[in-house]
Protein backbone atom coordinates (compact mmCIF):
# COMPACT_ATOMS: atom_id res chain seq x y z
CA UNK A 1 0.00 0.00 0.00
CA UNK A 2 1.44 3.37 -0.90
CA UNK A 3 0.03 6.81 -0.60
CA UNK A 4 1.00 9.42 -3.10
CA UNK A 5 2.11 12.61 -1.43
CA UNK A 6 1.97 15.83 -3.37
CA UNK A 7 5.37 17.13 -2.51
CA UNK A 8 6.47 20.63 -3.32
CA UNK A 9 10.24 20.84 -3.17
CA UNK A 10 11.90 23.99 -1.93
CA UNK A 11 13.69 26.15 -4.52
CA UNK A 12 17.16 24.91 -3.56
CA UNK A 13 16.13 21.30 -3.94
CA UNK A 14 14.46 22.06 -7.25
CA UNK A 15 17.65 23.64 -8.56
CA UNK A 16 19.59 20.53 -7.56
CA UNK A 17 16.99 18.39 -9.29
CA UNK A 18 17.27 20.37 -12.52
CA UNK A 19 21.04 20.06 -12.34
CA UNK A 20 20.75 16.31 -11.91
CA UNK A 21 18.42 16.19 -14.91
CA UNK A 22 20.93 18.05 -17.03
CA UNK A 23 23.91 16.02 -15.87
CA UNK A 24 22.56 12.51 -15.66
CA UNK A 25 19.65 12.09 -18.09
CA UNK A 26 21.83 11.07 -21.04
CA UNK A 27 24.00 8.73 -18.98
CA UNK A 28 20.98 7.14 -17.38
CA UNK A 29 19.35 6.54 -20.74
CA UNK A 30 22.59 5.06 -22.11
CA UNK A 31 22.87 2.74 -19.12
CA UNK A 32 19.24 1.66 -19.40
CA UNK A 33 19.61 1.16 -23.14
CA UNK A 34 22.49 -1.24 -22.52
CA UNK A 35 20.44 -3.08 -19.91
CA UNK A 36 17.35 -3.37 -22.07
CA UNK A 37 18.65 -3.25 -25.62
CA UNK A 38 15.96 -0.78 -26.51
CA UNK A 39 16.48 2.97 -26.63
CA UNK A 40 12.76 3.79 -26.44
CA UNK A 41 12.23 1.63 -23.39
CA UNK A 42 15.41 3.12 -21.94
CA UNK A 43 13.98 6.61 -22.28
CA UNK A 44 10.83 5.50 -20.44
CA UNK A 45 12.92 3.95 -17.68
CA UNK A 46 15.00 7.13 -17.35
CA UNK A 47 11.88 9.24 -17.12
CA UNK A 48 10.40 6.87 -14.52
CA UNK A 49 13.59 7.16 -12.48
CA UNK A 50 13.55 10.94 -12.55
CA UNK A 51 9.85 10.95 -11.73
CA UNK A 52 10.54 8.72 -8.73
CA UNK A 53 13.36 11.01 -7.64
CA UNK A 54 11.04 14.00 -7.79
CA UNK A 55 8.55 12.17 -5.59
CA UNK A 56 11.28 11.36 -3.08
CA UNK A 57 13.32 14.56 -3.12
CA UNK A 58 12.58 15.02 0.55
CA UNK A 59 14.26 11.70 1.29
CA UNK A 60 17.29 11.72 -0.98
CA UNK A 61 20.20 14.10 -0.34
CA UNK A 62 21.47 15.90 -3.43
CA UNK A 63 24.86 14.18 -3.22
CA UNK A 64 23.13 10.82 -3.58
CA UNK A 65 20.97 11.67 -6.62
CA UNK A 66 23.19 9.89 -9.10
CA UNK A 67 23.53 6.48 -7.37
CA UNK A 68 19.87 6.68 -6.38
CA UNK A 69 18.79 7.26 -9.98
CA UNK A 70 20.95 4.45 -11.29
CA UNK A 71 19.79 2.04 -8.63
CA UNK A 72 16.18 2.83 -9.45
CA UNK A 73 16.85 2.53 -13.19
CA UNK A 74 18.52 -0.83 -12.59
CA UNK A 75 15.51 -2.07 -10.64
CA UNK A 76 13.16 -0.93 -13.39
CA UNK A 77 15.28 -2.56 -16.09
CA UNK A 78 15.53 -5.84 -14.21
CA UNK A 79 11.79 -5.78 -13.66
CA UNK A 80 11.16 -5.27 -17.35
CA UNK A 81 13.62 -8.00 -18.26
CA UNK A 82 11.98 -10.39 -15.83
CA UNK A 83 8.56 -9.65 -17.24
CA UNK A 84 9.47 -9.60 -20.86
CA UNK A 85 12.32 -12.12 -20.81
CA UNK A 86 13.97 -9.72 -23.12
CA UNK A 87 16.78 -10.95 -25.33
CA UNK A 88 19.43 -8.30 -25.53
CA UNK A 89 20.13 -7.19 -29.02
CA UNK A 90 22.05 -4.26 -27.85
CA UNK A 91 24.45 -3.82 -30.65
CA UNK A 92 21.57 -3.44 -33.07
CA UNK A 93 20.48 -0.21 -31.41
CA UNK A 94 23.71 1.18 -30.12
CA UNK A 95 25.92 0.05 -32.93
CA UNK A 96 24.52 2.69 -35.23
CA UNK A 97 21.15 1.45 -36.41
CA UNK A 98 19.66 3.96 -38.82
CA UNK A 99 16.21 3.48 -37.29
CA UNK A 100 17.52 4.65 -33.98
CA UNK A 101 20.02 7.37 -34.58
CA UNK A 102 22.50 8.16 -31.90
CA UNK A 103 24.94 10.96 -31.44
CA UNK A 104 28.49 9.79 -32.02
CA UNK A 105 31.10 11.30 -29.74
CA UNK A 106 33.13 12.60 -32.62
CA UNK A 107 30.72 14.54 -34.77
CA UNK A 108 33.24 15.59 -37.40
CA UNK A 109 32.51 14.30 -40.87
CA UNK A 110 34.58 11.22 -41.69
CA UNK A 111 35.01 9.12 -44.80
CA UNK A 112 32.39 6.44 -45.31
CA UNK A 113 34.81 3.54 -44.85
CA UNK A 114 35.99 4.95 -41.55
CA UNK A 115 32.40 5.33 -40.38
CA UNK A 116 31.72 1.73 -41.34
CA UNK A 117 34.86 0.59 -39.52
CA UNK A 118 33.92 2.55 -36.42
CA UNK A 119 30.43 1.11 -36.52
CA UNK A 120 31.76 -2.41 -36.79
CA UNK A 121 34.13 -1.78 -33.89
CA UNK A 122 31.27 -0.42 -31.80
CA UNK A 123 29.20 -3.50 -32.53
CA UNK A 124 32.09 -5.69 -31.42
CA UNK A 125 32.55 -3.66 -28.25
CA UNK A 126 28.89 -3.77 -27.37
CA UNK A 127 28.82 -7.52 -28.00
CA UNK A 128 31.84 -7.93 -25.73
CA UNK A 129 30.09 -5.98 -22.98
CA UNK A 130 27.06 -8.23 -23.27
CA UNK A 131 29.20 -11.33 -23.11
CA UNK A 132 30.58 -10.35 -19.73
CA UNK A 133 29.10 -12.31 -16.82
CA UNK A 134 26.17 -10.39 -15.33
CA UNK A 135 27.84 -9.41 -12.04
CA UNK A 136 30.99 -8.23 -13.80
CA UNK A 137 28.97 -6.40 -16.42
CA UNK A 138 27.04 -4.50 -13.74
CA UNK A 139 30.25 -3.11 -12.24
CA UNK A 140 31.75 -2.53 -15.69
CA UNK A 141 28.79 -0.54 -16.98
CA UNK A 142 28.67 1.68 -13.94
CA UNK A 143 32.37 2.32 -13.38
CA UNK A 144 34.06 1.91 -16.73
CA UNK A 145 31.29 3.09 -19.02
CA UNK A 146 29.43 5.58 -16.85
CA UNK A 147 32.51 6.70 -14.91
CA UNK A 148 30.92 6.17 -11.54
CA UNK A 149 33.05 6.02 -8.41
CA UNK A 150 33.43 2.70 -6.62
CA UNK A 151 31.39 4.05 -3.72
CA UNK A 152 28.48 5.15 -5.90
CA UNK A 153 28.57 1.88 -7.82
CA UNK A 154 28.54 -0.01 -4.51
CA UNK A 155 25.45 1.95 -3.49
CA UNK A 156 23.75 1.12 -6.79
CA UNK A 157 24.59 -2.56 -6.66
CA UNK A 158 24.15 -2.98 -2.92
CA UNK A 159 27.55 -4.54 -2.37
CA UNK A 160 30.78 -3.50 -0.65
CA UNK A 161 33.27 -1.21 -2.37
CA UNK A 162 35.91 -3.96 -2.45
CA UNK A 163 33.50 -6.19 -4.31
CA UNK A 164 33.02 -3.49 -6.92
CA UNK A 165 36.79 -3.17 -7.31
CA UNK A 166 37.23 -6.93 -7.75
CA UNK A 167 34.34 -7.31 -10.18
CA UNK A 168 35.54 -4.37 -12.22
CA UNK A 169 39.04 -5.84 -12.41
CA UNK A 170 37.68 -9.18 -13.60
CA UNK A 171 35.36 -7.46 -16.04
CA UNK A 172 38.26 -5.52 -17.50
CA UNK A 173 40.34 -8.69 -17.82
CA UNK A 174 37.52 -10.45 -19.63
CA UNK A 175 36.61 -7.45 -21.78
CA UNK A 176 40.19 -6.91 -22.80
CA UNK A 177 40.48 -10.45 -24.07
CA UNK A 178 37.15 -10.19 -25.91
CA UNK A 179 38.21 -7.07 -27.80
CA UNK A 180 41.85 -8.09 -28.19
CA UNK A 181 41.74 -7.74 -31.95
CA UNK A 182 40.80 -4.08 -31.54
CA UNK A 183 43.65 -3.41 -29.14
CA UNK A 184 47.08 -2.98 -30.63
CA UNK A 185 49.89 -3.23 -28.09
Amino acid sequence: MTTQVQYQPDPGTLVAYHRALAEHADGLKTYAARMLGDATAAEDVSQDAFLALYRHLHQVPAAAYRPWLYRVARNLCLDQLRRRKFKLSLFRDLGGDDDNPFTPRDECAAPADQIAQAREANVAIERAIQELPAKFRDAFLLCEVEGMSYEDAAAVLGCPVKTVSTRLFRARQRFKSLVSRLIKV
Partner: protein
Amino acid sequence: MNCRTSQHELSQCLDGRLPSGRRAAVMEHAAGCQQCTAFWQELQQAQELILRLPRQRTGPEFREGLWQRIQSGEGTPPAVFQEPVPVATKIRYLATGAAAAALLLVAWRFATRDGGTPEQTPLTHLPRVANEGAGVAPAPGRLQPRPQPVDPVGTVPTGLLAAIEPLTPNLMAREAALQFNTHLTSANDYARQLQPRGQEPVTDPDHNARRLCEQAGEMTRLGRVLLDLQAYQHVSFSEPVADELKLVVDQLDERTLARHEPAAAAGSIVMVLPRLRHVGRLAEEIRGKLSYSCQELDVFQMRLAKHPEVLQLLFASGMELGPVERFSLSIRQGDCGPNAVLVAPRSRLSILSIQLMPKPK
Protein backbone atom coordinates in the same frame (compact mmCIF):
# COMPACT_ATOMS: atom_id res chain seq x y z
CA MET B 1 54.74 -8.38 -5.59
CA ASN B 2 53.17 -10.99 -7.84
CA CYS B 3 51.63 -10.20 -11.17
CA ARG B 4 48.07 -11.04 -10.10
CA THR B 5 48.19 -8.50 -7.28
CA SER B 6 49.96 -6.02 -9.50
CA GLN B 7 47.35 -6.31 -12.23
CA HIS B 8 44.49 -5.86 -9.78
CA GLU B 9 46.20 -2.77 -8.46
CA LEU B 10 46.86 -1.51 -11.97
CA SER B 11 43.12 -1.70 -12.50
CA GLN B 12 42.69 0.47 -9.42
CA CYS B 13 45.41 2.82 -10.68
CA LEU B 14 43.33 3.42 -13.76
CA ASP B 15 40.62 4.83 -11.51
CA GLY B 16 43.00 6.79 -9.29
CA ARG B 17 42.20 4.58 -6.33
CA LEU B 18 45.72 3.79 -5.14
CA PRO B 19 47.64 5.99 -2.73
CA SER B 20 50.67 7.55 -4.39
CA GLY B 21 53.18 5.38 -2.53
CA ARG B 22 51.46 2.18 -3.51
CA ARG B 23 51.00 3.44 -7.05
CA ALA B 24 54.73 4.09 -7.33
CA ALA B 25 55.47 0.53 -6.17
CA VAL B 26 53.02 -0.96 -8.66
CA MET B 27 54.40 1.10 -11.53
CA GLU B 28 57.91 0.12 -10.57
CA HIS B 29 56.94 -3.54 -10.75
CA ALA B 30 55.11 -3.03 -14.04
CA ALA B 31 58.13 -1.28 -15.54
CA GLY B 32 60.21 -4.37 -14.91
CA CYS B 33 57.57 -6.93 -15.90
CA GLN B 34 56.67 -7.43 -19.55
CA GLN B 35 53.36 -9.10 -18.74
CA CYS B 36 52.22 -6.31 -16.46
CA THR B 37 53.41 -3.62 -18.86
CA ALA B 38 51.32 -5.18 -21.63
CA PHE B 39 48.39 -5.51 -19.23
CA TRP B 40 48.60 -1.83 -18.27
CA GLN B 41 48.71 -0.69 -21.89
CA GLU B 42 45.81 -2.98 -22.86
CA LEU B 43 43.77 -1.66 -19.94
CA GLN B 44 44.26 1.89 -21.09
CA GLN B 45 43.45 1.08 -24.70
CA ALA B 46 40.35 -0.85 -23.72
CA GLN B 47 39.21 2.14 -21.71
CA GLU B 48 39.80 4.35 -24.76
CA LEU B 49 37.49 2.09 -26.78
CA ILE B 50 34.79 2.47 -24.16
CA LEU B 51 35.15 6.25 -24.09
CA ARG B 52 34.55 6.37 -27.83
CA LEU B 53 31.28 4.50 -27.65
CA PRO B 54 28.26 6.53 -28.71
CA ARG B 55 25.90 7.72 -26.00
CA GLN B 56 22.20 8.08 -25.97
CA ARG B 57 20.81 11.58 -25.91
CA THR B 58 17.63 12.88 -24.37
CA GLY B 59 15.94 15.68 -26.23
CA PRO B 60 13.63 18.48 -25.07
CA GLU B 61 10.67 16.13 -25.33
CA PHE B 62 12.18 14.08 -22.48
CA ARG B 63 12.01 17.01 -20.08
CA GLU B 64 8.60 18.12 -21.34
CA GLY B 65 7.22 14.63 -20.92
CA LEU B 66 8.70 14.38 -17.43
CA TRP B 67 7.16 17.68 -16.28
CA GLN B 68 3.81 16.72 -17.68
CA ARG B 69 3.90 13.51 -15.66
CA ILE B 70 4.97 15.38 -12.51
CA GLN B 71 2.24 17.98 -12.89
CA SER B 72 -0.38 15.38 -13.59
CA GLY B 73 0.37 13.92 -10.15
CA GLU B 74 1.63 10.64 -11.44
CA GLY B 75 2.96 8.54 -8.60
CA THR B 76 6.07 6.50 -8.17
CA PRO B 77 6.19 3.52 -10.50
CA PRO B 78 5.80 0.38 -8.36
CA ALA B 79 8.87 -1.41 -9.66
CA VAL B 80 11.16 1.39 -8.49
CA PHE B 81 11.81 -0.23 -5.14
CA GLN B 82 11.61 -3.84 -6.20
CA GLU B 83 15.08 -5.03 -5.43
CA PRO B 84 15.99 -8.28 -7.10
CA VAL B 85 16.32 -10.96 -4.47
CA PRO B 86 18.66 -13.84 -5.23
CA VAL B 87 16.90 -17.17 -5.56
CA ALA B 88 18.95 -18.67 -2.76
CA THR B 89 17.79 -15.93 -0.42
CA LYS B 90 14.14 -16.45 -1.38
CA ILE B 91 14.48 -20.16 -0.68
CA ARG B 92 16.13 -19.41 2.63
CA TYR B 93 13.35 -17.06 3.73
CA LEU B 94 10.67 -19.46 2.62
CA ALA B 95 12.34 -22.31 4.36
CA THR B 96 12.74 -20.59 7.73
CA GLY B 97 10.55 -22.05 10.35
CA ALA B 98 9.25 -18.62 11.20
CA ALA B 99 7.59 -18.26 7.83
CA ALA B 100 6.14 -21.73 8.13
CA ALA B 101 4.99 -21.02 11.67
CA ALA B 102 3.41 -17.76 10.58
CA LEU B 103 1.41 -19.61 7.97
CA LEU B 104 0.48 -22.21 10.57
CA LEU B 105 -0.63 -19.40 12.83
CA VAL B 106 -2.83 -17.87 10.19
CA ALA B 107 -4.27 -21.25 9.33
CA TRP B 108 -4.92 -21.89 13.05
CA ARG B 109 -6.67 -18.55 13.38
CA PHE B 110 -8.96 -19.19 10.47
CA ALA B 111 -9.62 -22.73 11.65
CA THR B 112 -10.61 -21.63 15.16
CA ARG B 113 -12.32 -18.47 14.07
CA ASP B 114 -15.87 -19.75 14.07
CA GLY B 115 -15.59 -22.17 17.00
CA GLY B 116 -13.16 -20.44 19.31
CA THR B 117 -13.71 -17.51 21.59
CA PRO B 118 -11.86 -14.31 20.81
CA GLU B 119 -9.81 -14.72 23.98
CA GLN B 120 -8.44 -18.00 22.74
CA THR B 121 -7.56 -16.90 19.25
CA PRO B 122 -4.06 -15.48 19.22
CA LEU B 123 -4.60 -12.74 16.71
CA THR B 124 -7.68 -11.36 18.43
CA HIS B 125 -5.36 -10.45 21.25
CA LEU B 126 -3.82 -7.84 19.01
CA PRO B 127 -6.80 -5.57 18.47
CA ARG B 128 -7.68 -5.94 22.16
CA VAL B 129 -4.29 -4.56 22.94
CA ALA B 130 -4.87 -1.91 20.34
CA ASN B 131 -8.24 -0.82 21.71
CA GLU B 132 -8.15 1.42 24.72
CA GLY B 133 -10.04 0.06 27.66
CA ALA B 134 -10.38 -3.30 26.04
CA GLY B 135 -9.14 -4.98 29.14
CA VAL B 136 -5.46 -5.37 28.53
CA ALA B 137 -3.40 -3.23 30.84
CA PRO B 138 -0.17 -1.98 29.37
CA ALA B 139 3.01 -2.68 31.25
CA PRO B 140 3.98 0.02 33.74
CA GLY B 141 5.46 3.01 32.06
CA ARG B 142 4.55 1.82 28.58
CA LEU B 143 2.50 3.71 26.13
CA GLN B 144 -1.20 3.36 25.82
CA PRO B 145 -1.61 1.49 22.56
CA ARG B 146 -2.94 3.47 19.71
CA PRO B 147 -6.55 2.58 18.96
CA GLN B 148 -7.10 0.73 15.73
CA PRO B 149 -10.26 1.02 13.68
CA VAL B 150 -11.50 -2.50 14.34
CA ASP B 151 -14.76 -3.92 15.54
CA PRO B 152 -15.53 -3.76 19.24
CA VAL B 153 -14.85 -6.37 21.88
CA GLY B 154 -15.33 -9.97 20.99
CA THR B 155 -15.08 -9.65 17.24
CA VAL B 156 -12.35 -11.53 15.53
CA PRO B 157 -10.13 -9.18 13.60
CA THR B 158 -10.89 -10.06 10.04
CA GLY B 159 -7.29 -10.00 9.05
CA LEU B 160 -5.74 -11.09 5.87
CA LEU B 161 -2.09 -11.76 5.80
CA ALA B 162 -0.83 -8.94 3.64
CA ALA B 163 2.90 -9.35 3.76
CA ILE B 164 5.60 -11.19 5.57
CA GLU B 165 8.95 -9.58 5.26
CA PRO B 166 12.08 -9.25 7.32
CA LEU B 167 11.97 -6.61 10.00
CA THR B 168 14.07 -3.76 8.66
CA PRO B 169 16.02 -1.01 10.40
CA ASN B 170 13.76 1.49 8.67
CA LEU B 171 10.66 0.05 10.26
CA MET B 172 12.29 -0.22 13.66
CA ALA B 173 13.51 3.36 13.45
CA ARG B 174 10.04 4.66 12.59
CA GLU B 175 8.60 2.79 15.52
CA ALA B 176 11.30 4.10 17.85
CA ALA B 177 10.91 7.67 16.59
CA LEU B 178 7.15 7.65 17.04
CA GLN B 179 7.39 6.22 20.54
CA PHE B 180 10.15 8.70 21.44
CA ASN B 181 7.99 11.64 20.44
CA THR B 182 5.04 10.29 22.40
CA HIS B 183 7.18 9.85 25.53
CA LEU B 184 8.59 13.36 25.05
CA THR B 185 5.06 14.77 24.93
CA SER B 186 4.14 12.86 28.09
CA ALA B 187 7.34 14.02 29.81
CA ASN B 188 6.55 17.63 29.00
CA ASP B 189 3.03 17.15 30.37
CA TYR B 190 4.35 15.71 33.65
CA ALA B 191 6.96 18.47 33.84
CA ARG B 192 4.19 21.07 33.51
CA GLN B 193 2.25 19.33 36.29
CA LEU B 194 5.28 19.76 38.52
CA GLN B 195 5.46 23.50 37.95
CA PRO B 196 3.70 25.49 40.66
CA ARG B 197 0.87 27.70 39.40
CA GLY B 198 0.71 30.84 41.40
CA GLN B 199 -0.41 30.16 44.96
CA GLU B 200 -1.72 26.66 44.22
CA PRO B 201 0.43 23.77 45.46
CA VAL B 202 1.64 21.17 42.99
CA THR B 203 -0.79 18.27 42.75
CA ASP B 204 0.60 14.87 43.66
CA PRO B 205 4.26 15.80 43.06
CA ASP B 206 5.65 12.39 43.94
CA HIS B 207 3.44 10.58 41.43
CA ASN B 208 4.21 13.11 38.68
CA ALA B 209 7.92 12.96 39.43
CA ARG B 210 7.96 9.17 39.16
CA ARG B 211 5.98 9.24 35.91
CA LEU B 212 8.36 11.89 34.56
CA CYS B 213 11.35 9.69 35.41
CA GLU B 214 9.69 6.73 33.68
CA GLN B 215 9.13 8.78 30.53
CA ALA B 216 12.72 9.99 30.61
CA GLY B 217 13.92 6.41 30.97
CA GLU B 218 11.94 5.33 27.94
CA MET B 219 13.26 8.31 25.96
CA THR B 220 16.81 7.34 26.87
CA ARG B 221 16.40 3.73 25.80
CA LEU B 222 14.73 4.76 22.55
CA GLY B 223 17.37 7.42 21.98
CA ARG B 224 20.10 4.77 22.26
CA VAL B 225 18.34 2.59 19.69
CA LEU B 226 18.03 5.49 17.27
CA LEU B 227 21.63 6.61 17.70
CA ASP B 228 22.77 3.04 17.23
CA LEU B 229 20.81 2.77 13.98
CA GLN B 230 22.33 6.04 12.84
CA ALA B 231 25.84 4.90 13.76
CA TYR B 232 25.37 1.85 11.52
CA GLN B 233 24.08 4.19 8.77
CA HIS B 234 20.75 2.44 8.64
CA VAL B 235 18.89 5.71 9.14
CA SER B 236 19.71 9.37 9.14
CA PHE B 237 18.45 12.50 10.79
CA SER B 238 19.73 16.03 11.09
CA GLU B 239 22.60 17.06 13.31
CA PRO B 240 20.49 19.13 15.72
CA VAL B 241 18.24 16.13 16.27
CA ALA B 242 21.24 13.84 16.75
CA ASP B 243 22.77 16.27 19.24
CA GLU B 244 19.57 16.41 21.25
CA LEU B 245 19.27 12.62 21.27
CA LYS B 246 22.81 12.43 22.62
CA LEU B 247 21.86 14.99 25.25
CA VAL B 248 18.92 12.81 26.29
CA VAL B 249 21.09 9.68 26.45
CA ASP B 250 23.81 11.44 28.44
CA GLN B 251 21.76 13.52 30.82
CA LEU B 252 18.68 11.38 31.34
CA ASP B 253 20.49 8.09 31.80
CA GLU B 254 18.26 5.99 34.03
CA ARG B 255 21.12 4.71 36.15
CA THR B 256 22.16 8.28 36.97
CA LEU B 257 18.61 9.33 37.74
CA ALA B 258 18.02 6.22 39.85
CA ARG B 259 20.70 7.38 42.31
CA HIS B 260 18.51 10.30 43.30
CA GLU B 261 15.12 10.64 44.86
CA PRO B 262 12.35 10.98 42.24
CA ALA B 263 11.86 14.65 43.03
CA ALA B 264 15.55 15.43 42.54
CA ALA B 265 15.71 13.32 39.39
CA ALA B 266 12.64 15.06 38.05
CA GLY B 267 14.35 18.37 38.73
CA SER B 268 17.26 17.31 36.50
CA ILE B 269 14.89 16.18 33.78
CA VAL B 270 12.96 19.44 33.89
CA MET B 271 16.24 21.30 33.21
CA VAL B 272 16.92 19.21 30.09
CA LEU B 273 13.47 19.22 28.47
CA PRO B 274 13.47 22.88 27.32
CA ARG B 275 16.73 22.19 25.45
CA LEU B 276 14.99 19.65 23.25
CA ARG B 277 13.79 22.00 20.54
CA HIS B 278 14.35 19.96 17.37
CA VAL B 279 13.89 16.37 18.44
CA GLY B 280 10.11 16.79 18.40
CA ARG B 281 10.35 16.56 14.60
CA LEU B 282 12.12 13.22 14.77
CA ALA B 283 9.25 11.10 13.52
CA GLU B 284 8.80 13.33 10.45
CA GLU B 285 12.48 13.86 9.82
CA ILE B 286 13.91 10.39 10.21
CA ARG B 287 15.00 8.86 6.94
CA GLY B 288 15.75 5.25 6.31
CA LYS B 289 17.17 3.57 3.28
CA LEU B 290 14.84 2.72 0.48
CA SER B 291 16.01 -0.85 0.56
CA TYR B 292 18.56 -2.96 2.32
CA SER B 293 20.89 -5.49 0.86
CA CYS B 294 20.73 -9.05 2.10
CA GLN B 295 24.04 -8.58 3.88
CA GLU B 296 22.78 -5.49 5.70
CA LEU B 297 19.63 -7.32 6.78
CA ASP B 298 21.69 -10.31 7.90
CA VAL B 299 23.91 -8.16 10.10
CA PHE B 300 20.97 -6.19 11.45
CA GLN B 301 18.93 -9.26 12.35
CA MET B 302 21.88 -11.06 13.93
CA ARG B 303 22.52 -8.04 16.13
CA LEU B 304 18.84 -7.84 16.98
CA ALA B 305 18.75 -11.52 17.87
CA LYS B 306 21.57 -10.89 20.35
CA HIS B 307 19.67 -7.98 21.93
CA PRO B 308 16.10 -9.16 22.43
CA GLU B 309 15.56 -6.30 24.91
CA VAL B 310 15.42 -3.92 21.95
CA LEU B 311 12.47 -5.80 20.47
CA GLN B 312 10.85 -5.91 23.88
CA LEU B 313 11.31 -2.16 24.18
CA LEU B 314 9.72 -1.37 20.86
CA PHE B 315 7.05 -3.99 20.48
CA ALA B 316 4.81 -4.64 23.43
CA SER B 317 4.36 -8.31 23.94
CA GLY B 318 1.02 -9.38 22.65
CA MET B 319 1.10 -13.10 22.86
CA GLU B 320 3.70 -15.65 23.70
CA LEU B 321 2.89 -18.69 21.65
CA GLY B 322 5.37 -20.96 23.28
CA PRO B 323 7.20 -23.62 21.35
CA VAL B 324 5.89 -24.30 17.86
CA GLU B 325 7.90 -27.04 16.22
CA ARG B 326 11.49 -26.05 16.89
CA PHE B 327 10.78 -22.40 17.50
CA SER B 328 9.45 -20.34 20.30
CA LEU B 329 7.29 -17.65 18.88
CA SER B 330 5.88 -14.46 20.12
CA ILE B 331 3.81 -11.89 18.36
CA ARG B 332 4.51 -8.37 19.34
CA GLN B 333 2.72 -5.23 18.40
CA GLY B 334 4.09 -1.77 17.89
CA ASP B 335 2.40 1.59 17.70
CA CYS B 336 3.03 2.04 14.02
CA GLY B 337 4.21 0.08 11.05
CA PRO B 338 3.25 -3.57 11.07
CA ASN B 339 0.46 -4.96 13.12
CA ALA B 340 2.71 -7.61 14.47
CA VAL B 341 6.29 -8.67 14.59
CA LEU B 342 6.91 -12.36 14.66
CA VAL B 343 9.99 -13.38 16.55
CA ALA B 344 11.44 -16.84 16.35
CA PRO B 345 14.82 -16.36 17.95
CA ARG B 346 16.13 -19.85 17.37
CA SER B 347 16.12 -19.60 13.62
CA ARG B 348 18.24 -17.33 11.54
CA LEU B 349 16.70 -14.34 9.82
CA SER B 350 13.46 -15.06 11.47
CA ILE B 351 12.44 -11.71 12.84
CA LEU B 352 9.65 -10.89 10.52
CA SER B 353 7.02 -8.25 10.30
CA ILE B 354 3.51 -9.23 9.41
CA GLN B 355 1.05 -6.77 8.01
CA LEU B 356 -2.57 -7.54 8.51
CA MET B 357 -5.33 -5.93 6.56
CA PRO B 358 -9.04 -5.97 7.27
CA LYS B 359 -10.94 -8.19 4.92
CA PRO B 360 -12.86 -6.22 2.34
CA LYS B 361 -16.60 -6.24 3.04
